[in-house]
Structures are given as structure tokens and as C-alpha cells.
């Protein structure tokens, strides 16, 4: 264990010294620069002037202020913070992939096109779907793409459908996406066990419904056992069923969403397929669809002709572009490397071990932190602080901060919204029993400290670079730049 130096929280600009230099560009062609004075900027940008070493030390120091998957157990529910294999990074950095220009001639891009093609084939098989676009840059971007595809599909049939049905347990992106695409959101209440209420659904679904968006397993970590009935109700009304794939880690290799009756779904490569989150991105997404929706996917798709791969611009029914160039290809290489490392059977192990891990935590914690649901969970569980903690005025936020002091990242908190004081834990399949045991001990220690000395827990964290931060001031008087 090395000691992080005392917090030197200066910004790079505050370390700047006029005329100190880092990197230079000495290309002699500079002498030929030809920009009229009237088109030049009037003053230099206020950027730091530092030596290269200053910059490296500044950012290396910053890195050490972070918790990360590599350094800490990071059980953020719905985020699937699994191990990000180093090999994936090396694969994506291969010069042949990294240096390929997005407008390269197809004949120059055969390796990348083959990779995208084979990745598409494998993902379609895993999802039980017929066609897939790998262009969306993230999960929310995938949802946007998916709803545009749905819209185009109904328009092609001459149907005007204006509504998206979203259960109240859904991710906030679902209604936000619906509104971006010009649909109205109809919220329906879930049943007490967190499942979609089919009777409620039937009351709201009809000729105006375009899409039912649902998360499987849902945000409480519960599988929608009545999914066949749900899909049937949607299909009878002529609507499509969209699966938010944020929780696909619970199903991968074990259940094909396409067989459940799902018509279109998205994938988050940075969740299920082990690509790193990078502190908030880049991610990558995909929309997989049944064949009747395929003509509307963004173009180009990649086709195989003989032993050559080429861009396929479709028959004109595509929704168009959702991004300037092809998707986040660098991330796709990582996801492909991940798939290569798994046989069909081993993919199923991902789902199985993630489910075992979540239930193991749930069963060891439920006496102290009651589980919202009485049944087994899938890959994540939702707990709440027990009555003994709430009696002392302790909240989920306090539990989260107490965990940080014990060297564990906090679970997702206050989501899903339908659970008061939710603590949503997703351990993922890559954590060992030993780590889970340590986490359980830490959670119990937080509880015990909270009961013995509630104020101490309310003041946590005590050991991190900063203590609780004033978010009210940050929002009332925003300071967003130097």
C-alpha cells in the first residue's frame, strides 16, 4: 500500500509557468503556414504551460484519487462493473485497427469489416435476433436508434402510433428517449413484486401504442416471468416490444431474448461485453432486431460477398445516420476479443456466476439489509437499510459513504425510484467468493458502526481525499471552468 501524497488540489493551470514548454512540433512545413492575419485568433488560449513531466505527474496524481474496478470492488447495480480484460485493450490498440481512417476504401478495411461482420453474426445468435447495427455510441444512443427504427417501421406500414409504454421501474433514459423521438410516454405501475402488471398493461396498450419498453431482468433484478404473456399482449395490439439490454449480463448464453418475444433490443458493450467505462465513456451500443425491422437500421451494415466484406447501404428505407462515421469501432474490437475468449458454454457461465454471486450477497446481507423482494434475484439485488438503521436516522447515502471508507465502491443508490432508499448491488461474475465475503463484512461493519455511533457514519467518508461535498453550492453558483 503506497501513500497518496497529501491532496494537492491545484488545477493544471495553477501550476502553469509562462514560457515553460512541454511538447513541440518542429515540422519544417510550418514555415509555409498561410493564414491571413484577419482570420487568426487575437490572443492565445489560456491553457497550462507545463513541462511534459509536470503534466504526467499532475494526471498520474489525479488518477490515484479514483476508485476503479482494478483497484476496488465496484458493485454498482445496473452498471455491470466486471473485470475489463487487459487483452481487449491490447487488441484495440493494434496499429492496423487504431490507424484506420473511417473513410478508408473498403479494400483497405477488410480486417475491420470482417471483425464487424463476425461480431454481428455472433451477437445475433446470442440475442436470438436477425439483424444488428453496431453504430450507436452508447446505450442511450442505442435506445434512440431503436425507437427511430420502430417509428420508421410503423410509418412504412402507414400506421401512426404515438405512444411508448414504460413501466415505472424503468431507467430514466427510456422516457427521455421516447420524448426525443417524438413519442408520448405512458407510465404504468409495477406490481408490488416489481414485475410488470399485465392487467395494467392491457388497460393502456392499444392502437396508439408503438412500443413497450422493458428491462429484462427488470431494474429490481427480477425476471419478468410473465414475459410471454406481456409480449403476446403487445403483439396483439400491433405494438413492438423493446428490451433495454442494460441487464443482459443475467441472460447471456442462458436465455435468448429473441425467443422471449422481444422484437428489438439494445446492448451495452461497456456492461455485458467487458469494455471499460473510462470514467463515463466511451461506451458502445447496438440495436438487434427481428427481420421485419432490419431494413430500417442505420446504414451501412457490413455484408460478405464471396470472401470480401463491403459496406451495404440498404434499399433506402434506413433511418439514416446516427453518428458521423461508423460506430465506436475501437470499443467493438474489445468486445470481439472478449467473445473470442468464450465458448458457447462459457458465455452461459457468465450469467450463471453473476446470478450466484448476487444471490450469495443477498442471502448473507438480508438479515441486516432487508431485500426488497422475497424471491431469488437474477444478477443484482435491491436491498434497503434495516429498521434499526432508519430509527437512528441513517440513510442509504450514509451506507454508501461508510463503504467508501472501508475500501469498497458504493452500490447504485436511490435507484430504482420505486424503492424507497434503494441499495442496488450488482457484484458481476468476475468477483470471487473471498471478495464477496469481505464486502459482506464491510456492509455489516457499516451497519454496526451506524448503530453504535450514528453521527460518525453520517459524517463519512473520513479517509478519502475529500469529505462530503457541497452540491447545493455547486448547483446554485456553478463554477464550471478555470
Amino acid at each position: 500500500m503506497t501513500r497518496v501524497p497529501p491532496l494537492d488540489n491545484r488545477l493544471s493551470i495553477e501550476k502553469s509557468d509562462a514560457n515553460r514548454r512541454g511538447l513541440t512540433c518542429k515540422n519544417p512545413l510550418r514555415a509555409k503556414a498561410n493564414v491571413p492575419a484577419s482570420l487568426r485568433r487575437k490572443s492565445p488560449p489560456r491553457l497550462p504551460e507545463l513541462s511534459e513531466f509536470d503534466v504526467v505527474r499532475h494526471y498520474t496524481r489525479l488518477s490515484r484519487l479514483n476508485f476503479s474496478v482494478d483497484t476496488h470492488f465496484y458493485p454498482l447495480g445496473s452498471c455491470t462493473m466486471k473485470y475489463n480484460p487487459r487483452f481487449n485493450e491490447e487488441a484495440a490498440a493494434l496499429e492496423g485497427f487504431a490507424a484506420l481512417h473511417p473513410l478508408a476504401h473498403d479494400s483497405c478495411a477488410q480486417g475491420t469489416l470482417e471483425l464487424i461482420y463476425d461480431l454481428s453474426v455472433r451477437l445475433n445468435e446470442l440475442c436470438g435476433m436477425d439483424a444488428i447495427t453496431l453504430q450507436p455510441a452508447a446505450g442511450a444512443h442505442s435506445e434512440f436508434t431503436g425507437l427511430l427504427v420502430a417509428k420508421a417501421y410503423f410509418e412504412s406500414k402507414g400506421e401512426t402510433r404515438s405512444e411508448i409504454i414504460v413501466p415505472d421501474s424503468a431507467h430514466g433514459t427510456n422516457p427521455a428517449t421516447a420524448s426525443m423521438v417524438g413519442f408520448n410516454t405512458v407510465n404504468i405501475a409495477s406490481k408490488p413484486d416489481g414485475r410488470l402488471d399485465v392487467e395494467e398493461l392491457k388497460k393502456h396498450i392499444g392502437s396508439k401504442t408503438a412500443v413497450l419498453m422493458m428491462t429484462v431482468p427488470n431494474t429490481l433484478g427480477i425476471f419478468e416471468s410473465n414475459i410471454e404473456e406481456v409480449c403476446r399482449a403487445a403483439h396483439e395490439a400491433g405494438a413492438l416490444v423493446y428490451m433495454d439490454g442494460a441487464n443482459l449480463n443475467a441472460l447471456i448464453g442462458m436465455v435468448k431474448p429473441g425467443e422471449l418475444g422481444i422484437d428489438l433490443m439494445h446492448l451495452n458493450f461497456h456492461k455485458t461485453f467487458s469494455t471499460p467505462h473510462g470514467g463515463g465513456g466511451p461506451g458502445a451500443g447496438a440495436i438487434a432486431v427481428k427481420s421485419r425491422l432490419a431494413p430500417f437500421l442505420p446504414v451501412p451494415l457490413i455484408k460478405k460477398e464471396g470472401d470480401k466484406y463491403a459496406s451495404d447501404f440498404g434499399d433506402g428505407r434506413s433511418i439514416g445516420k446516427v453518428k458521423a462515421f461508423f460506430g465506436n469501432t475501437g470499443v467493438l474490437v474489445k468486445a470481439y476479443a472478449y467473445l473470442l475468449a468464450h465458448s458457447a458454454k462459457e458465455l452461459g457461465e457468465i450469467a450463471a456466476c453473476s446470478i450466484i454471486n448476487a444471490n450469495y450477497l443477498r442471502s448473507l446481507l438480508k438479515d441486516v439489509y432487508p431485500s426488497y423482494s422475497g424471491e431469488y434475484c437474477m444478477h443484482e439485488c435491491v436491498l434497503v437499510p434495516g429498521p434499526d438503521m432508519t430509527a437512528k436516522g441513517l440513510k442509504t447515502l450514509d451506507v454508501a459513504k461508510g463503504l467508501l471508507d472501508r475500501g469498497f465502491h458504493a452500490p447504485t443508490i436511490y435507484f430504482p425510484n420505486i424503492v424507497h432508499e434503494a441499495i442496488m448491488i450488482e457484484p458481476t461474475e468476475t468477483e470471487s467468493k473471498e471478495t464477496l465475503d469481505e464486502f459482506v463484512a464491510a456492509m455489516k461493519d457499516v451497519h454496526d458502526e451506524g448503530i453504535a455511533d450514528p453521527q460518525k457514519l453520517k459524517d463519512a467518508p473520513h479517509t478519502l481525499p475529500v469529505r462530503r461535498l457541497d452540491e447545493v453550492q455547486a448547483a446554485r453558483q456553478p463554477n464550471l471552468r478555470w
Binding site: N9, S63, L76, P85, A104, E259, A284, T430, R481
Partner: protein, 443 residues
């Protein structure tokens, strides 16, 4: 496979759970859906086998001497950037939901926002968007929200892929109209502006424009303002080491493709959407924003702020559905800017301008080849060819391993047989002489 579970682990864990078997745990899934047949490889590859396969695929992408630009630029990535962005504390962290445990990421975002503001001369910036096209589309959406108008007046020199993306973003609303500002010698015909602006939400422009020309933006913001419209500008960040800034000429929203700041081309992504605006529109910014504040002890710290605009709170009333940003790419761009500093960025911009100027000079010396436009350009330019540009490109690529640039006919048929040629700081005099030689030889 990356699961650590031994058979014994699983048995013990199931026992602790009180389940008789794994199947017991997943009873909520109708049995007929469990364990479908998967037609996927029955054997996984070990790491060396996977490395061999991926190395073969990477090798099947050819590596021509390339003069392609058109929105994605070949850059040298300094070693220090790779060293910092591969720090796993940055690489494997999530969105900074627990600020006390994410000060590195948060301060990094704050420094990124500041860097963008400095380069673009704007008041505020967000933590980044997916790419230049999505930033552009979101900025136009913001202008539409602010003005309540639905007419978008755009320059013919805006990257056509950005316009396609914008149209997709508005696809659901047929009431949006698009009015193109005509081109005059490859640049925006400013004289045509006043007649087009009535009832417009914004002027959407790009400089250097898609054809490489530096737009003279003087008076454009004033024309927009007079008509009650806003000015949205997309500008290449490296060009701003040298060129007049969106802040200087009065842009309301300034966006750009941050790939320029040292990110690999990677066949289209991940890139970096830069998004900035004047302070009166701070709440119109989509996505994440980091802010500086104090902790309980009065110590400086950083948090995500202005969150109540976002999808997880506003749901269907949010400005955008975006959750993620391109944090690691933003970090790379911030480090790039810090490594080069104001002087280094100016040198880079000069090298781009110089390389392109030299390439234009050499190419226009070839018989039958001429510069299409007269105006000043930055790091790319358009030449007219006496033969099919597409045919010439394919021939030289196949026989000489040089990608001479992007044929423009599919995007701008009115320009005839033309080629968009880009030269960044990665090009040497010898590279440009080679370009000249292979074209001369092929004509």
C-alpha cells in the same frame, strides 16, 4: 473466461444461499427458455490464439500513405497520453457517482471543460458528447429550444455527415425546415444571409468548412442576432491554435470533433464531441457537467452538477437522453492540450496549414490539376481533376499504396470531378512529393 469460481465455490455458495441447485435460483425464468442451443464456437481461444487472430485481422487493413481528412484527422498521439489514459484508475472507473471516490475523473472533466472554453473562447462547456456530429445536432436542438423556432439555416460547407445526423435527430418532426446558405467560391455567401434568416432558430456553420476553407465569420453573429436567431458553429479544435475563435466572432454555441486532439482514427470512434456555449445557455447544455465546490472542511473538490436537467431526473422532459460522455477521450484531449500548451498548439496548427499549403502548391503544378477554390484554407483543400476522382483514387491505392484523398462527387455532385486532400502535421515534404509523383504518373 474470466470467472474465478471453482466447483467447490459454487457448491458452497449455493448452500449458503439455500438453493438446491443453480436451476433452483432461476425458477422465475420459464424452463423452456433456459439454455437454448447456441450456434457459436464450442471452444474458446486462448489468449495467444486470440492475439494471432486479431493480429491477422489488423494486418488485413492496409496502411496507405493517406491524405484522407473530411472530419477525421491523422494525428500523432504522444506517448504520455497513452501512459495516462491507460492508468486503470481512469480506464476502469465508472461515471463519478460517488464524488469522494472519483476526484480524479471529476477534476479531469473540469479541466477538460476549461480547456474547451480556452480553445473556443466560450463561457462554459460540458463533459463531452459522443462525437462532433452529435454535438452539432444537440447544439441545433438547443437553439431550437431557446428560440422556439424550427427553421435551420445552414451553410453548404457544414460536414454533410453532420447534417445527416441532424436530420435523423429531427426525423420525427416534419415541421423542421432546412435552408441552405449558398456557396460562393467554396465558402458561405454572407450576402445571401439576411434574406434567409426570417424566423430562423439558428445559423449553423462550420469553419474550417468541409471543403477545408476558413470561413470569414465576421458579421455572421450580428446578422443572426438581428433576425432573433442564434449562431451555432462547429470548429476543429486544433485549428483554433491559430484561427479566430467562436467566442471572438460571437457564436452562441460552439461545437467540434475532438478526435483532432490526438485520438486514434479507429474507423470512426470512439471520438469526442465538444460542446460549449455562452453562459446564458448553460442550462441548455445536454449531458454531464462537472463543477468546483467545497467539502465539509472547506477543502476544494469537484462534483457533477446541474444534474436536474438530466434524463435520470427529468425523464421525458430532459434536454437529451444522453447519460455517458466520452470521458476517457476527453481526458486524452485535455492531456494533449496541456502537453502542447498554447505555443505547441499554435505550432501544430501552423504545421497543418503549412503542409496543406505545400501539398496544394505541388498538386496544382500538375498539368490538368487545379485548386478548385481561391479562399484561404486550413489543412485540407479541393482540387479539380481531369479524370474520375474515384477511379484515380482506386488505381493509385491499388498500385502505389497511397490514398490520395476523398472524391467529392457523391457528396457534392455540383463540384464535378474533385478530390478533398488533407495534410496534417504528420506529413513531411517527402510524403507530399510522393503524392505529387503518384498522381502525375497516373494521369
Amino acid at each position: 473466461m474470466y470467472t474465478p469460481h471453482t466447483k467447490k465455490d459454487k457448491e458452497e455458495m449455493l448452500k449458503t444461499i439455500g438453493a438446491s441447485s443453480f436451476e433452483d435460483l432461476v425458477k422465475q425464468v420459464p424452463a423452456k427458455f433456459l439454455w437454448p442451443k447456441l450456434s457459436l464456437p464450442a471452444e474458446s481461444l486462448d489468449e495467444s490464439q486470440a492475439a494471432a487472430l486479431l493480429t491477422r485481422l489488423a494486418g488485413e487493413n492496409c496502411r496507405p500513405l493517406s491524405f484522407l481528412g473530411a472530419g477525421a484527422y491523422e494525428r500523432y498521439t504522444p506517448a504520455a497520453i497513452k501512459a495516462i489514459t491507460s492508468r486503470t484508475e481512469f480506464l476502469t472507473a465508472y461515471t463519478p457517482y460517488q464524488p469522494e471516490a472519483s476526484q480524479g475523473t471529476l477534476q479531469g472533466i473540469y479541466e477538460f471543460q476549461s480547456t474547451v472554453c480556452a480553445l473556443y473562447d466560450m463561457d462554459c462547456a460540458n463533459a463531452s458528447m459522443y462525437d462532433g456530429a452529435s454535438s452539432f445536432a444537440e447544439a441545433v436542438r438547443a437553439a431550437v429550444r431557446v428560440t422556439g423556432r424550427k427553421k435551420i439555416v445552414y451553410a453548404a460547407g457544414v460536414n454533410p455527415q453532420y447534417m445527416d445526423t441532424l436530420r435523423t435527430y429531427f426525423a420525427h418532426s416534419p415541421e423542421y425546415t432546412y435552408v441552405k446558405i449558398p456557396m460562393k467560391d467554396g465558402a458561405m455567401d454572407k450576402a445571401a444571409l439576411p434574406a434567409l434568416l426570417e424566423g430562423a432558430a439558428c445559423i449553423a456553420a462550420q469553419t474550417p468548412n468541409f471543403l477545408g476553407l476558413i470561413e470569414d465569420m465576421s458579421g455572421v453573429a450580428e446578422a443572426a442576432k438581428k433576425a432573433g436567431a442564434l449562431l451555432v458553429v462547429s470548429a476543429d479544435p486544433v485549428s483554433l491554435g491559430l484561427l479566430s475563435t467562436p467566442g471572438e466572432y460571437g457564436a452562441d454555441f460552439a461545437v467540434g470533433e475532438g478526435q483532432s486532439l490526438g485520438l486514434p482514427l479507429a474507423y470512426g470512434g470512439p471520438y469526442l464531441g465538444i460542446f460549449s456555449c455562452k453562459k446564458e445557455y448553460v442550462r441548455q447544455m445536454p449531458g454531464r457537467i462537472a463543477g468546483l465546490t467545497k467539502d465539509k472542511d472547506g477543502k476544494r473538490g469537484f462534483v457533477l452538477t446541474l444534474q436536474a436537467r438530466e434524463q435520470h431526473i427529468r425523464r421525458d422532459k430532459a434536454a437529451s437522453n444522453i447519460c455517458s460522455n466520452e470521458a476517457l477521450c476527453a481526458l486524452a484531449a485535455t492531456v494533449y492540450s496541456a502537453l502542447y500548451g498554447p505555443e505547441g498548439l499554435k505550432e501544430l496548427a501552423e504545421a497543418n496549414s503549412g503542409a496543406a499549403a505545400y501539398a496544394a502548391e505541388r498538386l496544382s503544378s500538375i498539368k490538368g490539376v487545379s485548386l478548385k477554390f481561391r479562399g484561404p484554407f486550413f489543412n485540407e483543400f479541393v482540387v479539380s481533376l481531369p479524370v474520375s476522382a474515384g477511379g484515380l483514387r482506386e488505381k493509385i491505392l491499388a498500385t502505389r499504396g497511397v490514398d490520395i484523398g476523398l472524391p467529392l462527387a457523391p457528396l457534392y455532385p455540383e463540384l464535378g470531378e474533385t478530390l478533398l486532400v488533407c495534410a496534417t502535421e504528420t506529413k513531411t515534404e517527402a510524403d507530399i512529393l510522393k503524392l505529387e509523383a503518384v498522381i502525375k504518373e497516373a494521369l
